[in-house]
Symmetry: C2
Subunit: 315 residues, 2 copies
């Protein structure tokens, strides 16, 4: 059995721990297609927060308390950069994490595509699933905000971390998406998949940038594999993060029904066959999509595995 | 009064603390022209060990025990790079130090010359002397060694740090020297100098690469300022480092007389007018060069200042 998961950062990483545990039980192969829209070059280093969140989490190197970055992290380089007045100072660049970016940037500068670099980094972490960036090309999520009455595009990380999404926001732009190609292996993985799962990641800034790569949405829509999504919203709140702020920008209701409708049914030009929602959202209706309730709090791996099983049964 | 000092790494840095102290007393301006032959790009970072040794030492950020690098240094990134199997692992890349390389590399990649980058870094460290790289162009000291009966060129750092200079060695090559130009400010500083001091740095791999930049040796030889060197050898031993190994490769005696002869008299096509040697080397003779003894152990700043005064008096 071959499972492909579309995933963003931390929510996607936690979901993937459940997918991996289930896959080990049944002998399935898992490929994660991971968002790169959050990627940013800072201090000359190419930083891929979502790929790293997944890699560290599955590799046992993530900080479970903080939710992002490395366990046992230190911040010496960050403090020194600030002492030089090197901007930006708002990004959480840890010392352990930084080594990953150094290795990645050195390889990218030597001409290796991000997919090959990710594979090389995973040789250390052994995540147990195949990690693929959605694209090897530049694709960055920028956010059009209003400042002093004028519209201005800032990088997603600046919007998210520096401004905590608390600025007047007009829209999201996936810079480079039109000319991006799916990374090596992505379309192959989708073409042989038995099921595609959409992780409970941020639909607007984690999943949408993946779907914005020409060819990926088409491969889902026209593929033989059923596509089942897992709602990132329980009741009216995101499981994690600031999906509510993102959905508000798109004028989409922050609910399982809102996000399900945003993805839409495969039969209607969307991507979903099935939509897993929390029991508190059992009333959810998405036209032409099979909605099924299952507990969606990823409190531990057992709960996450149960959620994954429910999604696969729905498929 | 304007003083120019040709300097390498740690010996040059200590000497410069004495020059600075003296200059503050008498109201002199100091420009240090620093070796870049040790510079190396590792893990995508441009590392300038000699410029940094001088900058950290004069800026109060150097580790006085270890002699190189930053005080309070940590090694997290280095350990993480090793965990990725990222070569080389033999270079001492500290976390604090690394921030300097990040800022430098980012500026170099943005197109700033090394001299401008050095000035920007010094805005933090306030070394109290003007630091100039010998050149803004690529100039790297490589070492031709014998391996399995064949000659092979390796970077100076690999020879020095990895092999501790303990490999059969044929010669030193200053890669890029022929086409290098003196960095912005170097020839101007030499043309208005009242005196030029050659620090007690390694003559073969710290001072020679500076002199290998076309125009610098000529500016010394034809300039109006007297040039006084300070011997890096006391008796038969280098004050610090492995100058003995380097001199052996050139078949030059490891003594004040050997190094004085290597530099040679200005009147004979060399660079020296005066040569300061330790009292134990008072017998030293260098044709057409005024040799004078003074204690050369830089045990503390007062001793170093006395040494600088003796050199200036000789000038």
């Amino acid at each position: 059995m071959r499972i492909v998961v579309l995933a963003g950062g931390i929510g996607g990483a936690r979901f993937l721990t459940g997918v991996r545990a289930h896959a080990r039980e049944v002998g399935a192969e898992v490929t994660a297609v991971v968002n790169v829209g959050d990627d940013i070059r800072l201090h000359g280093l190419q930083i891929c927060p979502d790929l790293d969140s997944v890699m560290y989490t599955l590799g046992g190197g993530a900080d479970p308390e903080r939710g992002w970055g490395r366990v046992g992290e230190t911040w010496t380089v960050k403090e020194e950069l600030a002492a030089y007045g090197a901007e930006p100072t708002w990004f959480g660049l840890g010392d352990r994490d930084l080594a990953t970016h150094l290795v990645r940037t050195t390889m990218l500068n030597a001409g290796y595509p991000l997919s090959a670099v990710t594979e090389a980094l995973c040789a250390r972490w052994q995540p147990g699933v195949r990690l693929l960036p959605a694209t090897d090309d530049r694709l960055e999520t920028h956010v059009v905000v209003e400042r002093d009455g004028e519209q201005q595009a800032i990088h997603f990380q600046e919007w998210w971390i520096r401004h905590r999404a608390q600025v007047p926001t007009r829209r999201f732009v996936f810079v480079g998406a039109e000319s991006a190609k799916p990374a090596a292996g992505v379309l192959d993985a989708l073409s042989v998949a038995d099921v595609v799962l959409v992780a409970p990641s941020n639909p607007v800034v984690s999943i949408a940038p993946i779907l914005a790569v020409p060819g990926i949405r088409e491969a889902l829509a026209g593929g033989r594999a059923p596509v089942v999504g897992v709602s990132p919203i329980i009741g009216t709140s995101p499981v994690r993060g600031m999906a509510d702020r993102c959905l508000e920008v798109l004028d989409v209701e922050c609910s399982a029904e809102g996000v399900g409708g945003l993805y839409g049914a495969r039969s209607g030009g969307g991507i979903l066959d099935g939509w897993l929602v929390d029991p508190v959202d059992a009333h959810t209706r998405v036209p032409d999509v099979t909605v099924r309730p299952a507990p969606l709090w990823m409190t531990d791996e057992a709960a996450t595995v149960a959620m994954v099983r429910a999604a696969l049964e729905l498929a």
